[in-house]
Subunit: 207 residues, 3 copies
């Protein structure tokens, strides 16, 4: 193994911030899709392009992590942040993609509310990444609390909407479709919480 | 980074034991729920309170792990134990919660049997955590074998009950509901096995 | 803790190669099952025996990893490779097992195509493990690219087949069954990609 005595500086924090802004952008398109149910394939394609670009970014972070000798924070935390940020976008994309695959033609207010809650959460996740990069630790911890609050609220939205789906809907095939879309949205907010937990743990280690 | 020269002692093993006893308590309520199908919301609330308290405990373990310089066992093993123990309780709670969300009004003997098997497994998991804390390694390894045996038995129960569900039940919506409840129960026992695998690996490292 | 001053040599790479060949063998039986839909229980039993033997192999790798003081590549990479290889086989087995559990009596061409794509991928995964062991890094990186290409193709097959399932099939119970079988096949190819990502990261670290 050739140890790198002069490690190149890799700016992981900027990459995380970029992943955060990618996620906001995709969430904006997803909310538009859920609100209007028009030009579905076009919306899906745009989310897919962002998701694809973010895959490349995540891949780059992971490769640079393997080749970098000195890292600004623990390696496993860089790995965890890159993975969770990527998971948010993957699940957000999957939620939208299911709308197209299942040929769903009409929205549900509860699902739109859940998509909006996810959108709100991606904004706070992005802000937390900015705060982490600028070493504004107190602000970043506040953002983590906000991410957790939004995740709890999303969980309640999810549970109410699942209960409503089974009460209101009699077509089992439509239940299968919406249940899966809602689950992907809820998992995406779970991954926002994973991001917050890692940020919090990083700050408590070094502050 | 400010290195802590005088690390405070964190008693991770007591925290794991507490997580183990939380899980037994929740499993007892779940079995009661599956056996009687009465006061469902009350049972769910009690499980939720335990799950919530355990979330706080897990969070505490993770934060202390980040701030502790010397750990009694490898950091990744502490992380793995805390995560898996938390996952058992999360999935156990989710299984019960689905009963309420889906407004299921009647039990299935196969599901009750699976819940009882999980209950039995939580007792052995808790015992294994006690044995690990008291450095009774031979006994702890025996408990791990028992956890694996119970997990295999639960897997067979799960597979038989899924087959029975699709054979006996003609209502697709009821199939969707019970399939998900059964899957959560089965995943909870999988996580018991994850706990056992980590305990075993810890003992083989240090014994 | 008794440090091993004379660590026994553990040949992790041979174990990974063996896991790879186990996976090919199981994939061959799965494809036969999907093509013919005959002697289903017999096919499932043969896949299960391979899956079981591979569980033992993975367990052995993990225990040896805990007891080995010096490892040829980073410990977390050995852990990741052993886990992902095991996951491929677990999910492949689960896909086949669902056919038996759900008493599915007739195949779907799209599912067979997905199983064949997985079979193709297991061959490249096995080749990549051989190349890694023989330090043929350029060839191994080429194999990783091929695994990624196959995974993308499988993802497209999966999405088309899910769309077709919901368009063609009117029986919700059959949709539930096939959706789950297809998901397991698709997850198995995802895990092939995880293997490729770890191999790539290992090579970039040491090359």
């Amino acid at each position: 193994m050739a140890i790198r005595f002069f490690p190149k500086e890799v700016d992981f924090f900027s990459q995380f911030e970029k992943a955060g802004s990618n996620t906001i952008e995709a969430a904006n398109i997803l909310v538009e899709l859920f609100e209007r149910f028009e030009n579905i394939d076009d919306h899906i394609k745009r989310i897919h392009d962002i998701e694809h670009a973010n895959d490349d970014l995540t891949h780059e972070v992971m490769q640079q992590l393997g080749q970098t000798f000195v890292t600004p924070i623990d390696r496993e935390d860089i790995h965890a942040l890159a993975s969770s940020l990527d998971d948010v976008l993957d699940l957000l994309w999957a939620a939208g993609d299911r709308v197209a695959l299942f040929k769903v033609t009409q929205g549900r207010p509860g699902a739109t509310a859940l998509a909006r809650s996810l959108q709100e959460n991606t904004i706070v996740v992005h802000r937390a990444m900015q705060e982490l990069r600028r070493k504004k630790y107190a602000a970043a911890l506040e953002s983590c609390i906000e991410i957790n609050r939004l995740e709890n609220a999303a969980d309640e939205l999810f549970r109410k909407e699942i209960a409503a789906l089974f009460t209101q809907e009699k077509d089992p095939i439509l239940i299968i479709k919406w249940k899966e879309i809602l689950e992907h949205l809820e998992l995406a907010t779970d991954k926002c919480e994973d991001v917050a937990n890692t940020i919090e743990s990083v700050i408590l280690k070094y502050a």
